[in-house]
Symmetry: C2
Subunit: 142 residues, 2 copies
């Protein structure tokens, strides 16, 4: 019940429209973060306007439903923040794994890396949040 697109949209105060349901289904169905392009591909036949898709993804992100990840090559990837939809996307600690071979981005659970932050604090920086990006080979590609 929890993962029903319509419920989720309502939960995040987003109007329930066919486009949003389709996009959300695609995102829910993917283990990895998807680009605007990826989503368009997976919605071939539904013929969703590119502007609408941008706006949809931005609405999702604004409301905290999805997480917008900047990539090395200046693209945005979007992913449902938490598989269980329990934690909001405003959480402070993120980690992403970028596969060098297939370029897919995986969201990983991250424990805080206290030592990193401590040394920054010593240098006069006040750390409020952090993002960790790991590069390498994903389980599929190695």
């Amino acid at each position: 019940m929890k993962r029903d697109p319509r419920n989720i949209l309502q939960q995040y105060k987003l109007k329930n429209t066919p486009v949003r349901v389709s996009v959300l289904e695609v995102l829910l169905g993917s283990r990895v973060a998807l680009s605007h392009n990826d989503i368009t591909e997976r919605l071939k036949g539904k013929d969703i306007d590119k502007v609408t898709l941008y706006r949809t993804l931005n609405s999702f992100t604004e409301k905290g439903l999805t997480h917008k990840v900047p990539t090395e090559d200046r693209n945005w990837l979007y992913a449902i923040f938490d598989e269980d939809l329990l934690r909001p996307a405003t959480d402070h600690y993120h980690a992403h794994f970028v596969c060098n071979k297939c370029d897919k981005i995986y969201c990983l659970p991250v424990e805080e890396h206290q030592s990193m932050q401590n040394s920054s604090i010593k240098m006069g920086f006040k750390v409020l949040s952090s993002e960790v990006r790991l590069h390498g080979l994903c389980p599929v590609c190695q």
Copy 2:
């Protein structure tokens, strides 16, 4: 002597041209990573072509002189990788601190965060490199 632009260019097998010297001086003179735009600003009067600047920065990065940082808002920032020019920019472990107030990006020394990587390896990911981004308030802004 070490920080003389001409010497540095030579050291990195880059041809010594007026444009490159100017750009390098700007980068050397900045404690923070600069965007194409920032650099253009600081070179007002020298009237450097935007394409040339892009190509210059890319050459620098290819040769390992500078470090190209993708920002939240889809810009690139460029910074001399190491203040002492001792370590090449091809090093695998990077950390950046992004100030929430002034939006400046600082390069920070980073010790490896082994626990992070270990847990990824357990999950089937092979970690080859990593990037850490910390957000918060820099010494100037707090």
